[in-house]
Amino acid sequence: MTDWNAMDDEDFRQDVRRFFEQKYPEQLRYPLQRLRWAEIKGWYLTLAEKGWLAPNWPVEYGGMGLSPAKFLIFLEEQERWGVARTPDMGMTMVGPLLIKHGTDEQKAYYLPRILRGEHIWCQGYSEPNAGSDLASLKTSAIIDGDEFVINGQKTWTTLAQDATHIFMLVRTDPQSRKKQEGISFLLVDCASPGITVRPIANIAGHEEFCEVFFDNVRVPKENIVGEINQGWSIAKAMLSFERITLGSPKQSQYALGRLELLAHQRGILEDPVFLDKFTALQLDVADLASAYARFADVVRRGEALGPDVSLLKIWATETYARISNLMVEAAGAAGAMGGKIDFGAAQIDVLGNFYYARPAPIYGGTNEIQRNIIAKNVLGLPS
């Protein structure tokens, strides 16, 4: 078995790059939307076969066991080549969760099934009245004999229609004094009776989110992760790494490249007014990439990220939105046309970028929440 961490960084990068370039399907590069299971399944299984599905899991659980530094290289190459996200909640969330907090039985049962592509997980956090204020969630799980009985509703569950399992936060103690207490972490089979999944189309016409309804869904007691009523602190600890991936400059860099191509095709790249706006965005992206690299160094050194990492998510998503706005403007009369549009030799999906830039400042903790975090935990401003 290869000890990846022993490899020279550059050699490792070349290996990863070669694999992506050779094996990743060309037509799936840089998708604007999340791909459905039917589209991405082949790639998922290719990764599984290679043993590369779970780069940052320890080797003993079937992962690559990459150090933070190597894992970042892996992610960078993935983004560089425009490799789509798989339904990766099993790898990014459930695996690390179980490795840290799971019982031996849970690990033995679930982890291999994730790596075989047998279990596809989705995340049941948000509820209709618990969005930014996630801790106010109401979906209840009441112990009845050897089982929890779940009632309630989750929403904005990404690709639940493709998932076989859902890991979710539920309220197990409705009497708790603080809303953050009394929340537990449950693993649930989506085939359980009483679960209904309703896809929600977004404004781009894709069914990326779902509502998931729970009507007396019975789940074995041993499906709890960690202690009862301790789910909130577990969930919170898992969010830290997400904040740096949401702040990656790659999306903006890719969009900037499309914008450049569009402007070139329309003959306005040399137009001084356009060029000035474009240059300002180039600088925004370059500075983002540079700030990102500084945080990535922290991860690479194996240190914990501070609350200041929230600035990446704010700047990355708002920069992407500005780029997509300029793309609409630069398209001129074609700026309202849906789908891929012919600009001379190039086909560009102007509105696709515009639409996908919309939710970016919302998901993963809205930018308002991120600003609150910096105001309180970095600047020390009072509540």
Partner: protein, 389 residues
């Protein structure tokens, strides 16, 4: 209110306009507002022909057309009220596109074709479209590659490709701009004419926009709407008017989006408080409100200037000012509305997406804010030079 009776009444103009506004609002409420747009999108022809007939009955298709053709000869201000009201309900019927723009060109050009076609437009039985832009997307009426060719027998034919023709698939005929040896000409070409072919593209709203190919379409002098200066004037004025009306539609839709958003801020509770009590969101909402008010002010000036001074450079300045402000404000308000709603604002089943898409369409149509800021600068430089001279 049926507008056909409007001229005869003795109430004053402000009251008349208030009644018209109420009448548009009543229609919108009765017919279900945005839900109608939702039901009709991505279908062909993208709007409701029975509603179109209702518009005809209400006189809304006759507002600005001269009495000589059976029109009501009212002002742009009245038409703007209709555009704003329909914009607020994202009504999909191409009133501005077919009546103000395409029929507007015929009306300003006058002559036998206007006499023949406009009464049918007013009756709602004929829907015209204006095919003027080429695939470069230029907004200059002079940038015309489409040609009228004369064969050896003296027969005429029209040859070229027109792009960005809204609702081309629903149109009964096209007013086409082209050039012949003497300059700009306008021809009327029935959609069914030999050599006319359409390809469609979907706009953000789901409505179709056509690319119309005129492949040596035979025409006669009877098809000629106007030539040279008359053609340029008719085309230019109708485009200015349609630009103002698109601005009015944008004002209508941004107002509705602002209302929806403010209402959501009042009822949506997070952290035990309505989110509208969070000061950061309050101040963002206020900034949107200010943009709406500025849009209103710019629109009113454009209506006044264009009504008073026709196809003048000061009117062009006012029109560009309005279109630039309204386009930017509408897009800003829609984008911010999505942000302030959170995830629900991004769902297809919530109405915001319909408004956002309409804002995209009308802000791009007839020139986006970038185009109109540049045009304003040209107007201003011309004026400055005029003053200096």
């Amino acid at each position: 209110m049926n507008m056909n009776t409007m001229n005869e009444s003795h109430v004053d103009r402000d009251d008349e306009r208030r009644l018209l506004k109420d009448s548009v609002r009543a229609f919108v409420e009765r017919t279900g507002g945005a839900s109608r747009a939702r039901a009709l999108r991505r279908c062909s022809p993208g709007f409701d022909r029975s509603v179109w007939r209702e518009f005809a009955d209400l006189g809304w298709l006759a507002v600005t057309l001269p009495e000589a053709y059976g029109g009501l000869n009212l002002s742009l201000a009245e038409m703007a009220i209709i555009a704003e009201g329909l914009g607020g309900a994202v009504a999909p019927e191409p009133v501005i596109e077919a009546v103000s723009l395409a029929a507007g060109v015929l009306s300003h050009a006058g002559g036998p074709l206007a006499e023949a076609i406009l009464p049918q437009v007013i009756a709602g039985t004929l829907i015209p479209a204006l095919a003027w832009q080429e695939s470069t997307g230029s907004y200059s009426p002079d940038a015309v590659a489409t040609k009228v060719q004369t064969d050896s027998q003296g027969g005429l034919s029209l040859h070229g490709v027109k792009a960005f023709v809204p609702y081309a698939e629903a149109s009964d005929g096209f007013v086409v701009s082209a050039t012949d040896a003497c300059g700009l000409v306008l021809f009327w070409v029935p959609a069914s004419a030999a050599g006319v072919t359409l390809t469609h593209h979907r706009l953000a709203t789901g409505a179709s926009v056509g690319r119309v190919t005129f492949d040596h379409v035979p025409v006669t002098e009877d098809n000629r709407v106007a030539s040279a200066d008359t053609a340029a004037r008719a085309l230019g004025l109708a485009i200015e008017e349609a630009t103002v009306l698109a601005s009015a539609a944008l004002v209508g839709l941004m107002s509705r989006v602002l209302d929806i958003t403010v209402e959501y801020l009042k009822v949506r509770v997070q952290f035990g408080r309505p989110i509208g009590s969070f000061q950061a969101l309050q101040h963002r909402a206020v900034d949107l409100y200010i943009q709406r008010e500025l849009s209103n002010a710019a629109l009113a000036d454009a209506i006044k200037e264009l009504s008073a001074n026709g196809n003048s450079s000061s009117a062009h300045g006012a029109v560009s000012r309005a279109k630039a402000r309204c386009s930017d404000a509408a897009l800003l308000i829609c984008r911010e509305a999505v942000q302030m709603h959170g995830a629900i604002g991004f769902t297809d089943e919530y109405d915001l997406g319909l408004y956002l898409n309409r804002a995209l369409v009308y802000s791009a149509w007839l020139g986006n804010s970038d185009h109109h800021r540049r045009r304003y600068a040209t107007y201003w430089k011309d004026r400055a030079q005029g003053v200096a001279a």
